[in-house]
Subunit: 347 residues, 2 copies
């Protein structure tokens, strides 16, 4: 079968690989019908260490179950399913607390961590199928597929940012980052009742979509200038919640600059730093809280899917480009060059 491999920075190829097959009795084999490239895939695209060999890519997918192991009970051959970016058993103490990304099962893993598997491919073996997979009540050619695909990561991640910020009706929210997650954090903040949603981003086509998703204000400036603009928009005090959807240190520092006393910075951009300011002068003096992490998207699908099925929200609008597998390397280039916001793959 054909699959996407990253050989090093900037070096993405689609190659023939051994067919994925069932290996454990709890596995399902999924024929991929829709996948995509994630903003987080661009981190290794910039800095991957080629030592250790190429990496299989892709952690967001929808597909048809082709085969199941003998212990799989909740999905059957022929089911159309969405695959969250983290595998979980859905029954351990952490999953029961809706923290599927910390599932205690020994096979729990991020899809990116499963050897010789990836979603940007013709097929994928998914471990812990009963806990992980969610059936979709549509056909594989439904017009809703792009929006349903966002349940695998970016919409669930935007929702996680908003949920961990404990947004209350009437509050001010600032979203940092106009990538797919940032835009869906805007949609999520609006959905959870935010009154003011300030989107910090510089790409007009993206921030225009952000306005359609609910942003009340857009701030294109960065750093001190951007912080001053947000403070102007919030009566001088900053936003109750800041959703940080980038992951680089300047975005965190910007978050510290625009958060209100007693407010919360909720991070969903994977931090590309370890040390950062959290002392008296940054978080402590005004009781600023810090929250966020990898989104337990599996926990959110039941809540988020109905609004997609009835058409009241369209998170799939973040896809502005579509391709087959052959176009995946160009898709990485275009996302990296910001020519594409998010690339949909139909293998």
């Amino acid at each position: 079968m054909r699959a996407t491999l990253m050989h090093g920075p900037g070096d993405v190829r689609v190659e023939d690989v051994p067919d994925s097959t069932i290996q454990l009795p709890t596995d399902a084999l999924v024929r991929v019908t829709a996948a995509c490239i994630c903003g987080s895939d661009l981190h290794p695209y910039h800095s991957m260490d080629p030592v250790g060999g190429p990496a299989r890519m892709g952690h967001e997918l929808i597909g048809v179950v082709e085969d199941i192991g003998p212990e799989v009970a909740t999905v059957a051959t022929g089911d159309l399913v969405v695959v969250p970016f983290a595998v979980s058993d859905n029954v351990c103490q952490f999953c029961r607390e809706d923290l599927h990304t910390s599932c205690a099962h020994q096979e729990a893993n991020f899809l990116d961590g499963i050897a010789d598997e990836g979603g940007q491919a013709e097929a994928m073996r998914v471990p812990l199928a009963d806990g992980t997979l969610v059936k979709l009540p549509v056909a594989e050619d439904s017009a809703l597929i792009p929006s349903l695909l966002t349940l695998a990561d970016v919409y669930g991640t935007g929702h996680h940012a908003a949920k961990m910020a404990d947004i209350k009706a009437g509050q001010s929210v600032t979203v940092i980052g106009d990538g797919a997650v940032g835009l869906l954090a805007v949609l999520s903040a609006k959905r959870l009742g935010a009154e003011q949603v300030i989107l910090m981003g510089r790409h007009r086509a993206r921030t225009d979509l952000g306005r359609e998703f609910g942003a009340t204000d857009v701030v294109a400036e960065r750093g001190e200038e951007g912080i001053a603009k947000v403070r102007d928009l919030t009566g001088g005090h900053g936003s109750h919640a800041v959703l940080e959807a980038v992951g680089h240190l300047p975005a965190y520092e910007q978050a510290v600059g625009v958060v209100r006393p007693g407010g919360v910075i909720s991070r969903v951009g994977v931090p590309q730093y370890e040390q950062a300011p959290i002392g008296f002068g940054s978080l402590f003096r005004h009781n600023i809280r810090l929250a966020g992490g990898p989104a337990p998207v599996r926990a959110y699908i039941d809540e988020l899917m109905p609004d997609i099925l009835d058409g009241s929200i369209e998170p799939g609008r973040v896809f502005d480009t579509a391709t087959d597998l052959d176009g995946v390397p160009a898709g990485y280039r275009d996302m990296d060059a910001r020519k594409s916001l998010k690339v949909l793959i139909r293998p």
Copy 2:
């Protein structure tokens, strides 16, 4: 009048100073009947820069109102009052959200920040008297005074640590630090329903009091050894909430080591660092949250006082030493040497 001044590291003196007087129409003049030395007073005791002259000390006090400015309405001459460690107007948007330590009033301040005033003295001018002072329904020689004095800082601060950690009944809580705030964080965690309260501290007399306040386990080890012990006590996963009542970086790192996935580190020890690890390997991977800051003790007094008045809790047991003003320099020495847990001053 006589007052405590710090001239430099290790150099505390009691000297004659000009009498405190009313300066603004919202001021009250308080004759101090009970004050104390705070663990946070030991930070300048170690590292104060003598340039700029001596600093007046003391931010926890009870006293009798001797005089009021013409705009003061809620307290009168002769009232016995407790003075929270931060001055606030109690009516601004932040005070109404119970965040008095971020009061937006231009005169809002920590008591430590008011020039030429301090609580370790015969008298103190307190700004914003209507917003700040709370009347006490006892006489100045009541046996409850030590416990009521803890409402000015250390009990309110321990309660803040527990409250910001959003402790739920049945949870596991680890408290780092066996000073007065740590011990009262133990008491507070227990009061808010924690089932397991692990106290990390090495001073037997203090940890014994911690057990009386509700600690179910004591871990004397520090660093990796202490972390391993806490993990053993919590089924391998760590505590839902970690209350950090020290303020030094190793205590924060210990907190990261003992917190459960999805859990919260609540800091009330004033951070003696600015940069610290918060990236993928520390907080982000398992959605660890960070909370805390200067406690808005004014917000908590109404809730916390009844249990003191009816004798059901005795936070004043953290005072193991009492002195008059002349004994204050020795009190600093004894607290620094850990001969005293907390020193009560009766001027």
